[in-house]
């Protein structure tokens, strides 16, 4: 327990993800930058900051969800090698820019960038030996960080609600991957994009999950007596915390939010002192306004009010240059510069509840539009008939085939991996972006093509071992996946 203080709790929940970029087929050159940029701008700096906070004795509490696709790619030897080269290239480029630039300021920027990248490389290579997932696990063992599980491939679950076995598979495979990486069962679960629909809680609770985070407008549909600043207990026994929309707006509002001034590469040194001062001022404002809110909520309350704030890790360096500095300052100021609240993990927050309010969150997501619009629009709706057909085929195969062996067993398991990867919400989200649409479409099609190719072989008992081996080598996620996870029965 972080504190016996009956004051409010601030439950910060950071969720980190990355699309599946691993590609061994050299005829389809991989664009690994979505992963590598996140490692450089978010994962490594976050680890560095959390370690430093712990070393400094800052009593922060935090929940962190690492999507399985990110976890697996962080631990993948091939991608680790390629990331090493990526970092070296970035350092060489900064070096060259420093030497070739005639402008003093540009030279200083390049120098700062090179030094920062070198420091990150030292951190990555020497301190963590390239294995960042283990470093997060070590931090969690210290107790200040609670790790949350998430869906296998970041699928937006409400759009798969028609097929409960698919939703169950996404949840269970995500939990199994968490257990494989961290050696323990998760208590909390991060819903991709905060997507919730009535009935989803049954699947989470059946998988042993105790709590999750939903959008405030979803929780508000239950008309809870204590409002959105206490979780509600679903009939299934799952606790649903509501992400505070006011806090989110303060950070991400496109015009007035702290992150509104996105200044590009976080490794640039230009105006770094001024940016740091901005970040600290924003952190002061954030902590003060959360304290004021929690003070007001505390009056007349029967138990500590809880403010849950969900934050995309992308904000902490990738899309908001000073986001990492802001976040560190928030944790320091929350610990040492105020007495109105404590930071808490979701586990901490669930433990202080003396009474429960029952309810049932409604359809909702944490997207700006609030529901499913980002993943179901004219740009991407064509994928759902294909996904549904593939899901039907996978479920039927899982039900029908009892004791496969050898190649057929491998092909069924791999088909399951391909289907899960095709279900990632990354693809429909990117299809709505003209710059990323072509790549996302190609990725989506490749996973489904592989899926059908494998099941074609299974159905006529002629699995092409070359194709199977190539697909296994390329999409090597979820090594323990058992195709029977797609069966309809519980």
């Amino acid at each position: 327990m972080p504190t016996s203080d009956p004051m409010g709790l601030l439950a910060l929940v950071v969720h980190a993800r990355a699309p599946w970029v691993r590609e061994t087929n050299t005829d389809a050159p991989a664009d690994e930058s979505p992963l590598f940029a996140r490692i450089t701008s978010t994962c490594l700096p976050l680890l560095e900051r959390l370690t430093k906070l712990a070393d400094d004795g800052v009593p922060y509490r935090l929940s962190l969800a690492l999507a399985p696709t990110l976890l697996h790619q962080l631990a993948d030897p091939l991608l680790q090698q390629r990331y090493g080269r990526y970092l070296q290239n970035a350092i060489d480029n900064a070096d060259a820019a420093e030497h070739s630039s005639l402008d003093t300021e540009a030279r200083q920027v390049a120098e700062h960038r090179r030094d920062r990248l070198r420091a990150l490389r030292t951190l990555w290579r020497d301190r963590y030996d390239g294995y960042l997932a283990a470093a997060f696990r070590e931090l969690a063992r210290g107790g200040q960080l609670e790790l949350l599980a998430s869906a296998a491939t970041d699928a937006f679950l409400p759009l798969h609600a028609e097929r409960p076995s698919i939703v169950r598979a996404q949840i269970r495979v995500g939990i199994e991957e968490f257990e494989r990486c961290f050696g323990a069962a998760p208590r909390g679960f991060w819903l991709p994009e905060g997507g919730f629909y009535p009935g989803l809680d049954d699947h989470l609770a059946a998988a042993g999950i105790e709590y999750t985070v939903v959008a405030a407008h979803g929780l508000a549909q239950a008309a809870p007596e204590m409002g959105i600043h206490a979780p509600i207990l679903c009939p299934s026994g799952l606790l649903a915390f509501a992400s505070d929309p006011e806090a989110a707006e303060r950070i991400t509002h496109p015009e007035t939010g702290y992150a509104a001034r996105r200044l590009g590469d976080p490794t640039e040194g230009r105006d770094s002192e001024r940016m740091l001062a901005h970040a600290r001022a924003h952190a002061t404002n954030f902590v003060a306004t959360r304290a004021a809110t929690l003070e007001a909520l505390r009056r007349g309350a029967t138990q500590p009010p809880i403010l849950t704030v969900a934050l995309s890790a992308d904000l902490l360096g990738l899309t908001w240059r000073e986001g990492g500095d802001w976040f560190e300052a928030v944790l320091r100021k929350a610990a040492w510069e105020q007495n109105s609240f404590s930071t808490a993990t979701l586990g901490d927050a669930s433990a202080v509840l003396r009474v429960m309010q029952e309810g049932y969150p409604g359809d909702s997501s944490l997207s700006p539009a609030g529901y499913r619009e980002a993943w179901l629009s004219g740009e991407n709706d064509w994928i759902y008939p294909y996904l549904d057909a593939a899901a039907g085929r996978m479920v039927a195969a899982a039900e029908r085939i009892e004791r496969p062996r050898g190649l057929v067993l491998r092909a069924l398991d791999q088909a399951g991996r391909e289907l899960l990867l095709a279900q990632s919400a990354d693809w429909p989200a990117a299809m709505a972006d003209p710059v990323r649409a072509a790549t996302a479409t190609a990725k989506f099609r490749r996973h489904l093509q592989s899926f059908h190719q494998l099941l074609d072989g299974v159905e006529i008992d002629r699995v092409d071992e070359t194709i199977l081996a190539r697909t296994e080598a390329n999409d090597n996620i979820f090594p323990a996946l058992d195709y029977r996870v797609f069966r309809q029965s519980e």
């Binding site: 080269r85 969690a140 050696g183 007596e225 429960m356």
Partner: protein, 201 residues
């Protein structure tokens, strides 16, 4: 080009080689191929010599195109938001070509509430969710001589009704089977970690 170089290039060129010589078609002799492909073909030939020939029929569908969803006539409804629904279906060829119509009816008495002309070969559309909370049903079909012929299955629209009542009452902590044994998260022994290798310089 030496054997080592050929071996290094083979994985790059193999897919191209396969495009030219699918598994069930006789490979051309390597000498008839463009020079750049000879290495791959030679590597392929080499593998064939070492591996006994397979005489099984090739899988039925090796085409890279995605198989079309089945034309099973099932009407699917995905809620996009509280005010909008996405409806999709696939009809058999002999029905898809007709002037299609999506009809919404009241579930209680079958009375028609809305109709959406679709034209031939439609496969999907977005419609506004009904404001009323009484159950509605949808079906795609075609009007012939004043009669509606249903082609798709009948699907019930997701209700806009609020979540089920009976909430907003208090429950003592510990009542729930899921909240009665709260233990701090405890991470177990480290699992076997894949060989990370030494990070590249």
């Amino acid at each position: 080009m030496g054997e080592a170089a050929a071996s290094a290039l083979a994985p790059w060129l193999e897919p191209l080689s396969r495009m030219i010589a699918p598994a069930n078609i006789q490979t051309e002799p390597a000498t008839q191929l463009a020079p750049a492909l000879r290495v791959a073909a030679a590597a392929d030939d080499d593998r064939r010599r070492k591996t006994p020939a397979r005489h099984e029929p090739a899988p039925a569908r090796l085409s890279p195109s995605l198989p079309e969803p089945p034309a099973d006539g099932i009407l699917h409804i995905l809620r996009r938001s509280p005010v909008q629904l996405f409806v999709w279906f696939r009809l058999p060829e002999d029905q898809a070509g007709h002037d299609l119509l999506l009809r919404e009816t009241r579930a209680s008495d079958g009375s028609i509430t809305r109709e959406f002309p679709l034209g031939p070969r439609a496969t999907h559309l977005y419609i506004d969710a009904p404001e009323e909370i009484d159950p509605r049903q949808l079906q795609v079909g075609c009007c012939r001589e004043g009669r509606f012929l249903g082609y798709s299955s009948v699907a019930t629209m997701p209700s806009n009704a609020p979540p089920p009542p009976g909430k907003a009452r208090w429950r003592e902590h510990g009542d729930s089977p899921r909240t009665d044994s709260r233990t701090p998260p405890r991470l177990g022994p480290l699992p076997v970690i894949p060989a990370a290798g030494k990070a590249a310089e």
